[in-house]
Each structure stands twice: as structure tokens, then as C-alpha cells.
Assembly symmetry: C2
Homo-oligomer: 212 residues x 2
DNA sequence: TCGAGCAGTTTTGCATTCAAATTGCTTCCC
DNA sequence: GGGAAGCAATTTGAATGCAAAACTGCTCGA
């Protein structure tokens, strides 16, 4: 298995998998499950520690990072800036093909909303935001976005969504698609900021901070 | 030597030291010079590869990353967004002490400008920008900024500066300090963007892209 | 009964080792 | 003489080994 593959599998385990924030990361088990030795696993742990997903306690192993309230605030602040920038850059750069793809995702997402299928809704939502970032055609931006998104994913997707907020989010997403289609960079940036700020308030209000 | 220390020493070697972009990274030598074995060095290399400072060629070792024109463009785009955000966040958060510190750095910088001491000027310049980012009091933002700054440092500081540009930069810096003192978030963000965009144009015009 | 102290075990971090891949040199053939 | 083939030496990537630190569970004393 290649180095990058270890990193992304480990990232997946941490963000979507079984290891809860704050929990000890079982080196030996993961080595067995990935069928690698400790050396490459530990290399991946250092990379994810630099990303903020893992905390390394000297001589006491590594743990899945917990988000404090301050972390949530900081991550959302930066995420807001990155998404707004992505939107601004995407407007002049997005291809018709990419626009169509997003429109389709949007339609699917609305379907899932109608069916009240939260997890499919979230999947579409995530794909739309990622597609916008991809349309910005900036690898550095995309890398930072991915790193931030990985860290807030749990908070973002575990926070329960009120019916009102959900309806509003759908509405905002229509605005997002609309602005993209009109290539209205400023408008899009503004909606994306609002959209994310609302989500952030919801997450903060839910008191979602895993500790410390 | 601690893990983080290895990473930062290696980063320093790559950004300020002797290893030129595109050059092979001499694992053995660095091990000797840091007095560590290959394992911790390689861990640091993976971390810096994730940051973009190092490229890993499978089975063919690692090299100091070269900046392409596209890299420069992407890095400046994101840096602009981050600095503008830092400025906006710093305005309501900056302490009088921090303001005083920046004002002093600014005065020093002007001195160095008068003396046409480029390297001291650059040092002050860097410290001012770092101080603004610090005043934003956002560790995630600061981390990203550091990572980007490390990658463009060479391009930024090697590009020759015309007298006109230098004078303009000084002027802009006065605007920056002024906006900070007036806590004018929007104004500061705007100046920072302009300031950076000008620098970017200079760097791009100088054709500074190291290859590929 | 509870806590301090200690021995055994586990875990961590790093050095070393080992196999596979790459590089460069030599040789051989045309 | 030029170029390809083959072999040795180096380098890489990962597994293993080892010393030091931390944890566990036990004993002993109050």
C-alpha cells in the first residue's frame, strides 16, 4: 500500500469511522487491519497530526483530536474565507459541464430533502461544496478545504438540523446555484458566507464541542 | 530532538537554507547533520510533502519542490484570501500592545528602507505580516498562513524589487497600519489584498517560477 | 479498607536491518 | 566506435529489534 493511501484510509477511519474523538488510536490494530508495519502507519499519523486530526502525546501515543469550541470557531472562520474565495474564483472558471453536474447534484439533494433522507442529503451537500471548490481550479485551496472539511465533518454532520434550518439551507443552495449560473462572483461569495455562518451558529448552539 | 523540531529545522533548510528547489534532498547528510536516524527524518519529509514543500518520487527519493507559474498563482490567490481574513479578524481583536509592536516594526522597516537595507527590510516586513496574522487569534489561519508563506518565501524575497514598487509598498504599509489603528476591517482587508496582488504581479512578471 | 510503592508487562520512539528498486559502470556484441 | 545488456553498488521503503518510558496489577502497611 502506498503512503498516500495509508494517509487517506487513516483519515477516513478518523472522520467517518469507528475511532471517536479523544479516543486512543490503536497502532497495533491498525497495522494489522491495513496489513502494514508500524513505520508507515506512524508516518501517516505524523501527517495527520500536522493537519490537526490527530494529537500526539509524547511517549503516550496518539489520539483522535477533539474539537474545542475555539477550534470550531476557528475552523468555521477559515472555512468561510476559503469557500467564499472558491466561489469567487469558480465563477469565471467553471465549465458548463461542471455547472450541469452541480445542478444535477442540487436536484438530487432536493429529492433527498423531500424524502427527509438526511444522510443522502449530506452526501449531496458535501459533493456540491466540493464541486464548487474543484471548479475554482486551485489545488492549494482545495487541499486546505479538504483538511478543514475533514476536521469539522463530524461536528457539521452530527449536529441535528431543525426543519426550519433545513428548509433555509435548501433555499440558500438554490441561491448558490443561481449565482453560479449567473457567474455572480460577489453574490456567490456572499451567499456562501451566509450559508456557512448559519451552519456554524447551529453547530455552536448545539454546543457541539467534544471536550477539553 | 523532538519530532516538531525536526520538521521545523527541515523546513528552514528548505526555505532559507542551502537546498535549492528541485534539488535532491540528501537523506544521509541531513541525518548526520541533525544527529538522528532515517526514521524520524523520513517522518518529517512526509509531513513537509503533505505541506507541498517536498515532492516524493516513489523509489527515487525526495526533492525540494519547485514552484511552477500555476503554483505561484494559486499560492498568492489563497494567501490573499488568508491575509485579508486575518486583517478583518485582527481589527476587532488586536490589543494595544500588539498595535504598538506593529507600529514599531513599521518604523524600523521605514528605517531599513531609507538605508536601502533590503534584507532587514524583508525581515521587518515578514514580522509585520506575521504579527497581523497573530493578532487575528486564529490558530488554523496562522497554520495555513505559515505553510503558504514558507512555500512562496523564496519567490517573494528573491524577486528583485523596483524602486517604484518599493516606495509603493512602504506607502501601502502605512495604509495598513493606519487601517489597523482605526480598526477599519474592510479597509484593511482591501489594502492587504491590493498589497499582495501587487507583489504577486511583480513576482509573476519577474518570471519567477523555478521550473517544470 | 484504602493508598503508596514496586515488579512485570506493554507501549512508544528510534535505530538498525533487510529486501526491492534504481543507478551507474563495465563489458560485450554488432 | 556506439549502443545495449548485465552486474555491482547505492538508495529507498518498510519490517524488525531494542532501550526507555508509561501503565497495570499486586503487595504491604497504616
Amino acid at each position: 500500500m502506498m503512503h498516500d493511501e495509508v494517509v487517506s484510509r487513516l483519515r477516513q477511519v478518523l472522520t467517518e469511522g469507528e475511532i471517536a474523538p479523544g479516543a486512543r488510536i490503536p497502532e497495533r490494530e491498525l497495522c494489522a487491519s491495513f496489513a502494514i508495519s508500524r513505520t508507515p502507519l506512524r508516518e501517516a499519523l505524523k501527517v495527520l497530526a500536522a493537519e490537526g486530526l490527530v494529537v500526539l502525546l509524547p511517549n503516550r501515543g496518539s489520539r483522535a483530536a477533539k474539537l474545542t469550541q475555539k477550534d470550531v470557531k476557528e475552523l468555521f472562520e477559515v472555512c468561510e474565507a476559503l469557500e467564499a474565495t472558491a466561489g469567487e474564483l469558480a465563477c469565471p472558471r467553471i465549465s458548463d459541464e461542471q455547472l450541469r453536474e452541480i445542478a444535477e447534484l442540487q436536484a438530487n439533494m432536493v429529492e433527498h430533502y423531500r424524502a427527509q433522507d438526511l444522510s443522502s442529503y449530506y452526501r449531496c451537500n458535501r459533493l456540491i461544496h466540493e464541486a464548487i471548490v474543484r471548479a475554482a481550479d486551485n489545488a492549494v485551496l482545495a487541499g486546505f478545504y479538504e483538511s478543514i472539511a475533514a476536521r469539522i465533518r463530524r461536528a457539521r454532520f452530527i449536529t441535528p438540523m431543525s426543519p426550519e434550518h433545513w428548509a433555509l439551507a435548501i433555499q440558500e443552495h438554490e441561491g448558490i446555484l443561481n449565482a453560479l449560473q449567473r457567474r455572480d462572483a460577489r453574490g456567490l461569495a456572499h451567499i456562501l458566507r451566509t450559508h456557512l455562518r448559519r451552519k456554524r451558529e447551529e453547530v455552536v448552539r448545539a454546543g457541539f464541542a467534544e471536550g477539553e
